[in-house]
């Protein structure tokens, strides 16, 4: 605890839209320590997705520095970014993003495959994660044979398979009903209590307040950063 995992400093992401300049991220500085559970909240168009792409090493900022676990990500090449994502980040997407033609085990194995984990160990670790989300006995199934909540659990298992330093959840409950949303949120809380670092992106304040710390983005800038209690007070 206390050791910084994410260090963002003066992050700018500027898109050229015709002759107009769009500042999706307009000078964002943010520090997240290991073991934190942070919600990044903002309306659509606020720049929170751009921020999530940068934190997730899917994109690099126009300017500014980003250190993830001590490594300078801002200047990395495509392949280096791929390696960083593979080693350090577990993604949970709104649309689950499972491979439709692969069974659950193959889906969960995917990050381990790219990390060149040997076959036996790969299978063993993937099965362990599937077991953890309660879907071990369905490992042969295809994603479409599962309910939305179950699919999201598979994608959580996939995110955990590579033992990432950071779990990055992008609107993890966006496609789920309230009961399964609760399940997923409880699961994230459980992961947090085990010491995992979780960053959750959402537009929904009622989801954001499940985290310990809230960062609100508006017009590409941070306009709130603090404990969830303080955040709850202002909404």
């Amino acid at each position: 605890m206390g050791e910084p995992l994410i260090e963002l400093k003066d992050i700018y992401k500027i898109y050229q839209m015709g002759s107009e300049e769009v500042r999706a991220n307009d000078g964002i500085s943010l520090m997240i320590n290991r073991g934190e559970f942070v919600a990044i909240v903002g309306k659509s168009g606020s720049g929170k997705s751009t921020l999530m792409n940068i934190i997730g090493a899917l994109d690099v900022p126009t300017s500014g520095s980003y250190r993830l676990g001590g490594e300078d990500v801002a200047q990395m090449s495509d392949d280096q970014l791929a390696d960083i994502r593979n080693r350090m980040i577990g993604f949970i997407f709104q649309q689950y993003n499972l491979l439709p033609k692969s069974n659950l085990l193959e889906n969960v194995e995917l990050p381990l495959l790219y990390a060149k984990v040997p076959k036996e160990e790969r299978k063993e670790r993937a099965m362990r994660q599937l077991g953890r989300v309660g879907l071990a006995e369905k490992w042969r199934n295809l994603p479409k044979q599962l309910s939305g909540g179950q699919q999201q659990r598979v994608s959580i298992a996939r995110a955990l398979a590579g033992d990432p330093s950071l779990i990055l959840a992008d609107e993890p409950t966006g496609a789920l009903d309230s009961r399964t949303s609760r399940e997923v949120l409880n699961f994230l809380k459980e992961l947090h209590s085990e010491g995992n670092t979780i960053v959750m992106i959402t537009h929904d304040n009622s989801i954001a307040v499940e985290a310990k710390r809230v960062v609100r983005i508006m017009d590409g800038k941070i306009n709130f950063d603090g404990d969830v209690e303080n955040y709850a007070a202002i909404i």
């Binding site: 392949d79 791929a82 593979n86 995917l110 495959l113 996939r158």
Partner: protein, 393 residues
């Protein structure tokens, strides 16, 4: 790598119809190449064989003898005797129009030729009965002859019965001393291969009422020296005739070379056309791979987000294209060989065998096409931005 092959097979199997249609171009191209090349090479070796039986070591002379400029048989033999290192045997050939008669039975399509004692050896034909023509028959102008089995059967009722009998050629009687065994194994017919009479050329010049001999057949000792022999003959004839238009010197091997080069040109041309169909098939592979990349943009996005490097994505799609086209290649080879098998059953004239090189080359080309035309779509896939790719539906 192994994973990429698995994925490729899975993806091909998952879109059976589409994969088959993609392969169809390759299948047609590869089988066309194999069929064409094999049939043409089968035909070529058939042609070569039948020419070899005609005698590839022969040079034919055709001379237009004029009263003022001419070459006599003695001069030809003098030349021949001086050049026995180059030439094996020689015979004048004098064709005589005429009728062969035994009593009241007559044959009017029989080819009657005046030849030397070497002729039988040049033809490489065996005797059925009796003896062949000899040197003494030439020098002493013996009225003897060697006949084909057809003549013996028709006029005398068999080879043994014919020997010792006389045959009248345009009124002159010749004693039959030998019969050549049957040459055309399939049929004996009037005017066919076995319907002939050979007489000494010295007698033939008289019968033909022509003092000059216009045609000769000479064999060469060494097939590699055919052109040297031709040059020697041409020089000799030019010295005598002083005019290149008055004689021709033709080697059978020239004709064979000509036919060979004709067939080779044809096979290269046909192979080229088949090759174009392979190229078109390659464009088909590229097209389908582009569709496949577009369709799987999201999948590519997921893979990249989870840490797949560019090279991994590139490899996955290139291997998929290569596997698709090599499966097509294997099917094409099987179909090509099957068709050749069928052709051989119905075509008894000559046999075509699928050549190893045709199979190897067309398989290599189909794999190569997969790699080449798969590369562009694969490289496009590998460069997709994961964010955009994930957003696509």
């Amino acid at each position: 790598m192994q994973q990429s092959f698995k994925l490729a097979i899975k993806s091909i199997w998952g879109n059976k119809m589409r994969s088959f249609l993609t392969m169809l171009g390759i299948i047609i191209g590869v089988s066309a190449v194999i069929i064409l090349v094999s049939v043409v090479s089968g035909y070529l070796s058939y042609m070569t064989e039948s020419f070899a039986s005609l005698g590839v070591d022969q040079i034919t002379l055709n001379i237009i003898n004029l009263p003022s400029r001419n070459v006599s048989v003695d001069e030809m033999y003098e030349f021949y005797d001086e050049n026995t290192d180059l030439f094996g045997s020689m015979t004048p050939t004098i064709s005589i129009r005429g009728v062969a008669k035994n009593g009241n039975d007559s044959l009017d399509s029989t080819s009657i030729t005046g030849v030397s004692e070497d002729y039988q050896e040049i033809k490489d034909w065996e005797l059925e009965y009796g003896r062949g023509l000899q040197y003494i028959d030439m020098s002493a102008r013996h009225k003897v002859c060697v006949i084909g089995i057809y003549v013996a059967n028709e006029l005398y009722g068999g080879a043994e019965k014919a020997c010792g009998e006389t045959i009248k050629i345009n009124g002159t009687a010749f004693t039959i001393v030998g019969v050549i065994e049957q040459q055309n194994k399939e049929e004996l017919s009037e005017g066919g291969t076995d319907d002939f009479v050979w007489i000494p050329y010295t007698c033939a010049t008289k019968l033909a009422r022509n003092a000059y001999v216009n045609n000769y057949i000479i064999t060469v000792n060494d097939l590699d020296k055919v052109s040297e022999c031709k040059t020697a003959l041409k020089n000799f004839l030019y010295e005598k005739m002083k005019n290149e238009d008055l004689y021709t010197v033709e080697a059978t091997s020239d004709m064979l070379d000509e036919i060979n080069s004709l067939v080779t040109t044809a096979s290269v041309g046909l192979g080229g056309i088949a090759g174009i169909s392979l190229l078109v098939a390659g464009v088909g592979v590229m097209n389908i791979m582009l569709v496949s990349v577009t369709e799987r943009t999201r999948e590519i996005g997921i893979r990249k987000a989870l840490g797949a490097r560019r090279s991994v994505i590139l490899q996955q799609f290139v291997i998929e294209a290569a596997v698709t086209s090599s499966i097509g290649g294997v099917i094409g080879i099987a179909i090509g060989c099957g068709v050749i098998f069928l052709i051989n059953r119905f075509n008894t004239t000559f046999q075509s065998t699928p050549t190893f090189s045709a199979i190897a080359v067309s398989f290599a080309v189909s794999v190569g096409i997969g790699l080449l035309f798969g590369y562009m779509p694969a490289s496009r896939a590998s460069k997709l931005n994961p964010i955009d790719a994930l957003r696509s539906e």
